[in-house]
Symmetry: C2
Subunit: 369 residues, 2 copies
């Protein structure tokens, strides 16, 4: 099945839009949030639980799977879907971001990046061609071009050089791709410079991909700057292709991103925060380890229909976190992912009924109440 | 609902027997294995998953719950069943065993035991009356008398003194109990001395309880000695009350225990081993971290109908364990508990159809193949 993206509605008052991606492992309603399954598992969760929550696509990390258990092993086991027992769509990143963030010892060259494993120090080389080869072995539905995620802050000169390398690598990725059933997304870089962001969007769309990602954001810059960069890119991306804001973000970021025309998001925030005891509610974050919840018979969020909120009190959850029980991480993750998936469903409903502005106002009203 | 135990069948060739306990939160088919939910959670599992596997009763630890989150808190939250969202029967131990095994600093006196918390060093006092008070606050269906679990090895004199203290404490526990809906079990001690075991069984049954436990076994002695001690006790326990072998054991121990007339077992072995990557199969234990399973597409045990075996390969499980993923502990625990619960169901079926001897022979044949 070829990649198909249909826009079904444009919001009247913002750049928000509704769409549907159809791809070999199923349909994805956009705007969509993709939970992160770094090591071929969305931490603590079974695939059935993800489906129950309404997850339509997950992201897995090429860097981690390449190092352990190895892409060839996964290929021999029938591919990533079969290996991890997940039959809905998967997106894999290129591995570049983790190489840059995990590896102290790395050298970026024209041909690719030389790095050492964070696991055992072994030496590796990742090129555009290699990134595609690994992702083809893994067999995700959507695969990504290798890019350099420009560090923040960076000078204009460094950012421009880095961006141009990303463009050359994008072209090589497209040329290297042999698989038929997979879709390839390009990545726009350009750091925190509006003119470079525009230039990158134009260069990447000129090469031509099934979808376009905005990389290099949420790397330490403030929110205003991040939103400016999104605004600098979106007008130069084609209307008829999905737009993916990589590694973002908070619930507010999702709302702001959708408003600016973003269709896809991924972030470790709901899963990682859950394991630390930070739980999302419409009234803001709740630190369940706090002593004030010791005797609290209420659910995390009143009215929430997730498995955790329907069956467990804050007092019990606090006890599980205090006692370092694995069930704590499970119940927290279940709630946080439900919160994120429900938020995206609510956003889609709001756009559908021409009520996105009111939804956004209500969202911020609750958050600040 | 009062405690009701019906013997439904006696094996022709051994002391094995079938029975049914009916109690306020439901029915329990014996012989039964009780998974351990130390801190008000069977580690990694939800109550729904335990039910899917067929778990009919779990054990929770009074010592842990008394220290954290506290029995009064649990009582205020509606009792242990509601707190942990488990609506089937629960058995709580008295807390004595953990006091003796966790606390370096403890003093046993006639009135009770003085000890320091393993969590924060705070000082506490556990008496027979206090053990009952805590267990009444927790609200388990079956509660246990406070006993001294005699250390191994111990001299005859120490063991006899310890056993006699256990008998005096048993009487005080029975007198202290006020709750109507709970059943109280006595505990037979007597170390590794057959005459003391007999004496203890007679003394404890003279006091009179709803069921009888054999304590102080599986504490380091060899298997032959443990089985001898069971044989020394069972003839002196009444036919019409359940017999509970505390803290035992391996799959072999369950078979040997049933054969000797035991109706109830509990042990952390299936859950703890699972988290270490040691998985039970009918052909013996499988160390899933072993490199030989890296490329193995087979399930843990061919033909096993547990969720894990139906959906995941050894290769995937090995990867999850190597990557320290929480899902590893979940999938391992699911399989091991299923193995234990299925083993007990198979034992019951075998007794029912007068085939326990053949079942046992087949079990050992597979194990040694």
């Amino acid at each position: 099945m070829a990649f198909d993206f249909r826009l079904t509605k444009n919001d009247l008052h913002s750049k928000a839009r509704l769409g549907r991606i159809t791809i070999s492992h199923g349909r994805i309603n956009t705007p969509v949030f993709m939970p992160v399954g770094t090591q071929a598992t969305v931490k603590t969760m079974t695939p059935e639980e993800l489906k129950d929550i309404g997850v339509e696509i997950i992201l897995c990390n090429t860097y981690h799977l390449y190092l352990r258990p190895g892409h060839e092993l996964i290929k021999n086991m029938g591919g990533l879907h079969k290996f991890m027992h997940w039959d809905r769509p998967i997106l894999t990143d290129s591995g570049g971001y983790q190489v840059f963030s995990h590896s102290e010892l790395r050298k970026i060259k024209e041909e690719g990046v030389y790095f050492q494993s964070h696991l055992d120090g072994s030496r590796h080389f990742l090129s555009p061609e290699k990134a595609i080869e690994i992702q083809e072995a893994l067999g995700a539905d959507i695969i990504m071009c290798l890019d350099e995620c420009t560090p923040y802050p960076s000078t204009y000169e460094y950012t421009k050089d880095s961006m141009e390398l990303t463009h050359r690598w994008a072209k090589r990725c497209k040329e290297a791709k042999k698989s038929e059933g997979q879709s390839l997304f390009g990545i726009v870089q350009g750091g925190m410079f509006q003119d470079l962001r525009k230039e990158s969007a134009e260069a990447i769309t000129r090469i031509g991909f099934d979808g376009y990602a905005i990389g290099g954001l949420s790397v330490g810059e403030d929110k205003v700057l991040m939103y400016e960069m999104i605004d600098a890119v979106v007008p130069y991306l084609p209307e008829d292709k999905p737009r993916y804001l990589m590694g973002v973000g908070t619930p507010e970021d999702l709302i702001e991103g959708v408003m600016r025309g973003i269709d896809m998001f991924d972030c470790v925030m709901p899963t990682r925060n859950a394991r630390n005891g930070t739980l999302f509610t419409k009234y803001g974050k709740l630190g369940i380890r706090n002593a004030q919840y010791a005797n609290d018979p209420n659910p995390i969020e009143d009215g929430c229909n997730c498995y955790t909120c329907k069956n467990y009190s804050r007092a019990y959850l606090r006890h599980l976190f205090a006692a370092n029980e694995i069930l704590a991480a499970r119940l927290g993750t279940t709630h946080n992912l439900y919160y994120y998936i429900r938020l995206m469903a609510d956003i889609r409903d709001a756009i559908e009924r021409d009520g996105f502005q009111e939804f956004k106002a209500e969202f911020y009203k609750n958050l600040n109440s």
